[in-house]
């Protein structure tokens, strides 16, 4: 455990500069864009004279040099102050926070489903390599991989919500019914089934291919031959020796793929009108709500860093050869 503790501290120390680079990069990008918040505000107010603009710039702290602005920006971030959203008229932090829970639930369910289903199907396919289960699973995987998630989402709505009327077509929960306790949980789950399916199938297909290849690779290794020579049953060989070794590349890949998945949620949340971060990002782009957009990018970056941090620790837990270096 000491090994993992040391590793955790080191990884944390390493993510501080990463975060700093992202923050500064974001801030400078904002500086590069022509015009500033005041220009945007004035445009929304229908124009104004130079004196008003200067006054506004003083109010927003835009009249000082860029490094000072950067310093103030970083200090503000330390107190979770992401500025005001021009569209919602609220602090960006609270706008994002309201949406974060939805996205976090949605993403973790989709990730868990893609990972576990991909793992199980990959194992099944590898156990009967080139047999009919493998052919079936691999073909299915290819189909999942080939379907774009927005189209899949629409088709799922058409089938399950419109034709069969089994599941709601969108939203996070039924509005105005005041459900509590178990009923509320079930209600949210019903709303999330279709979005999770449409986001996760593509990733399921990737994980399944990866797990299958990884299992096949590990099964050729010497220690698996040793395990068989020890007289272990095939089930024990797979569970105790193959599976954990085959999981290593999967775990790495989840960390790498997480940001792609976050990107995918923008589309799916929009299709299913889920009030999450992805949809917020989409709306902020359309409405030119720069502060909110920056906040979202920042939160996403932090999310990706956190997930990769967890993945690193998980990997170290799985593989005793990883030392803190």
């Amino acid at each position: 455990m000491k090994r993992i503790g040391v590793l955790a501290l080191r990884r944390l120390a390493q993510s501080v500069p990463v975060l700093l680079i992202i923050l500064i990069g974001l801030f400078l990008l904002l500086q590069l864009a022509p015009g500033d918040t005041v220009d945007a505000l004035l445009a929304q107010m229908g124009g104004g004279d130079a004196a008003v603009a200067a006054q506004l710039r003083r109010d927003y702290g835009l009249d000082v040099s860029v490094p000072v602005q950067l310093g103030r920006y970083l200090v503000r971030l330390l107190s979770f102050d992401l500025g005001m959203s021009a569209i919602y008229g609220k602090p960006v932090a609270s706008v994002i926070f309201e949406r974060l829970a939805v996205t976090a639930l949605f993403m973790s369910c989709a990730l868990a489903f893609a990972f576990s289903a991909g793992l199980v199907l990959g194992v099944l396919a590898a156990r009967r390599v080139n047999g009919w289960p493998d052919t079936l699973i691999s073909t299915l995987g290819l189909v999942f991989y080939a379907i774009p998630s927005f189209w899949l989402g629409l088709m799922l709505i058409v089938l399950f919500s419109v034709k069969l009327a089994w599941l709601p077509p969108g939203g996070f929960e039924s509005i105005g019914e005041g459900l509590t306790g178990m009923a509320h949980v079930l209600d949210v789950a019903q709303h999330l089934v279709l979005p999770i399916l449409s986001l996760s199938l593509i990733f399921l297909a990737i994980y399944l291919r990866l797990m299958r290849a990884s299992m096949l690779e590990v099964m050729t290794l010497d220690f698996v031959r040793t395990a068989r020579a020890k007289g272990l049953s095939e089930g024990h060989v797979l569970r105790r020796h193959v599976l954990r070794n085959a999981l290593l590349p999967m775990v790495t890949f989840v960390g790498l793929q997480f940001s792609t998945m976050l990107g995918g949620s923008v589309v799916v949340e929009s299709v299913f009108s889920l009030p999450g971060l992805g949809r917020l990002a989409f709306e902020s782009v359309v409405q030119r709500d720069l502060n909110t957009l920056l906040g979202i990018v920042l939160v996403s970056a932090v999310l990706v860093i956190v997930v990769n941090f967890i993945v690193d620790l998980l990997y170290a837990k799985l593989d005793p050869r990883i030392v803190a270096r």
């Binding site: 080191r10 220690f223 395990a227 007289g231 105790r240 005793p320």
Partner: protein, 557 residues
């Protein structure tokens, strides 16, 4: 009728422990031959060590897998009986076979690093045997694991049981592997090249352990090896295999000193004798390569990481004279390969100087050094990994010449000339490395290095990955090329037999230092340093002089 060939010490009326009778193994359709094993018959009695010897492709490992019922997919048993204590394993259902594997047949594999699960503590892997085959409660199993690890000579069994494979040395891992195989006191132990991946001193200790176990427990051992030295060290009886067939079998003395079959004779003839041949006493030529104070320390880590420092080479000096072969011998971690790499500047030396014909190579900048690379070339160990698989052989050999500005036509002519020199057909130019055997690839590697017409050739374990008969051919070729092209050779090897035959002088390295240096004959006859003595004492089969009764061995000098 079954007892005629039973081993020494086996009761005459008892059935042998293991008997293979006319076993054939069929390869899948479309393979280069129909049978991997044909009509293989052999026996192992209790308390007897039977060595199966053969080169790669002889089917010796497949024989072991056939006994265990672990033939790879689509490779099938085509006939014959595999009797363990009178019971035919060939017809048993998989579940019954699983009960026999591990419990009645213990198995030890070649590469102890890869043969153990890297993610499971060693003790747990040993315990698994007991868990699978017995009803012992956990405390009893754990106590047994400790006892087993202690029995195979692991110094701290409690710590070793908790350790992961990568935390143990190669020798410790192989001991753990043996402990695992012995967990259920099997009557038969199958060991497939168990010492091939180990250093020579470690190998000697593991061989002693196997022999000890066989004596103490009366275990029958089927020991698979390619090394006649190991055979001489450990075998009671010998089975020689070639192309999936048994060509000769008999007591060890008979096979080693009076081999009957031409293949056995050829194999034994190809084993380099440990005694250095008589060399004409010649004035040493002028020094071509003078190395002094060479150092290399590997450091890893940085600002955010823990620093790890390994002093690989700690001050090495030597001089190579014109026309001489200088051997550098040592075990893994001795720094010998690091020295080789520094000589051709594949690694940057930390300190010291390398004077090639009076010019300090280490003082040159990268561009000036590149101009000198023609004069010092290297041949690598692994003929499979050291040639780019996507390039044609002709391009591989010509590349160096072209880089140094030779016109295309001249380079191509040179390639043909070099291929002829190493005994390959000019048609090889258009082919890819994977189309050649290991020995042929090593010839290609040699042709590539020689095409540059170097003054000094650095050969890093050039024959270690090759079968013994191929090894003899490549060594002979190297000797011939050296003569024809007036080369001076730095020859790095862990194999003292090869060193004895090839080298004029030898440096013995241990932990980054040269502990002894001298004329080959002197060094072998009167080693001064304790480490040199330990190395020489560990050479398997050192008491056996190959060639007595067989054709005279090829000389490479």
């Amino acid at each position: 009728m079954t007892t005629h060939h039973a081993g020494l010490g086996a009761p005459l009326d008892a059935a042998p422990l293991l008997a293979l009778r006319h076993v054939s193994v069929r390869l899948p359709k479309g393979a280069d031959r129909e049978f991997a094993l044909r009509d293989v018959s052999l026996q192992v009695a209790a308390g007897e060590i039977v060595c199966v010897v053969g080169e790669s492709g002889s089917g010796k490992s497949l024989t072991a897998m056939a006994i265990l019922g672990l033939l790879p997919g689509r490779v099938t048993l085509a006939g014959g009986a595999i009797e363990l204590e009178g019971e035919d394993l060939a017809g048993l259902p998989p579940a019954r076979l699983r009960g026999i594997r591990g419990a009645r047949i213990g198995m030890v594999f070649q590469e102890p690093m890869t043969a153990l699960n890297p993610l499971m503590p060693v003790g747990r892997q040993v315990e698994e045997m007991l868990e699978e085959h017995t009803d012992q409660p956990r405390e009893q199993r754990l106590a047994r694991v400790q006892a087993l690890l202690a029995e195979v000579g692991i110094p701290d069994p409690v710590a070793a049981a908790r350790a992961y494979p990568h935390e143990l040395s190669g020798g410790q891992r192989q001991r753990a592997m043996i402990a695992m195989a012995l967990a259920l006191e099997p009557r038969l132990l199958i060991a497939d090249e168990p010492t091939t991946a180990l250093d020579v001193t470690t190998q000697a200790r593991i061989l002693a352990l196997v022999k000890n176990i066989q004596r103490r427990r009366g275990t029958g051992v089927l020991f698979i090896t390619h090394d006649f030295g190991v055979v001489a060290e450990i075998a009671d009886r010998v089975v020689v295999m070639q192309h999936g067939q048994v060509v000769e079998t008999g007591p060890v003395q008979q096979v080693l000193y009076a081999p009957q079959h031409p293949y056995t004779q050829a194999l034994i003839a190809a084993v380099p004798p440990l005694a250095p041949p008589q060399r004409p006493v010649a004035e040493p030529g002028p020094a071509v390569l003078a190395v002094s104070g060479l150092r290399k320390t590997y450091r890893s880590g940085g600002i955010l990481a823990r620093k790890r420092v390994v002093e690989a080479v700690r001050g090495v000096d030597f001089t190579l004279h014109q026309g001489e072969t200088l051997g550098i011998v040592g075990e893994s971690g001795s720094g010998k390969s690091t020295v080789a790499r520094m000589l051709v500047r594949l690694l940057a030396a930390d300190a010291g100087s390398i004077h090639l014909q009076g010019e300090d190579l280490l003082a040159l900048n990268a561009r000036d050094f590149r101009a000198r690379t023609q004069r010092i070339q290297m041949v690598f160990q692994d003929p499979f990994a050291s040639l780019n698989p996507r390039r044609r052989v002709g391009d591989i050999i010509a590349q160096g010449l072209r880089v140094h500005g030779m016109p295309r036509a001249a380079a191509e002519a040179k390639v043909v000339e070099m291929l002829a020199l190493v005994g390959l057909d000019p048609g090889a130019i258009r082919r890819f490395p994977h189309e050649f055997s290991g020995g042929q690839r090593q010839r290609i590697g040699l042709a590539r290095a020689l095409a540059m017409q170097p003054t000094v050739l650095v050969a890093d374990e050039p024959v270690s990955a090759l079968d013994v008969s191929v090894q003899a051919q490549v060594l002979a070729l190297l000797a011939e090329a050296k003569q024809r092209l007036a080369l001076s050779l730095v020859f790095i090897t862990h194999d003292l037999r090869v060193a004895a035959q090839v080298c004029d002088r030898i440096l013995v390295m241990q932990r980054g230092l040269v502990v002894e240096a001298g004329e080959t004959a002197t060094l072998f006859a009167a080693p001064r340093h304790p480490y040199t003595r330990a190395l020489l004492a560990s050479v398997p089969g050192r008491g056996w002089q190959p060639g007595a009764g067989a054709a005279s061995p090829p000389r490479a000098e």
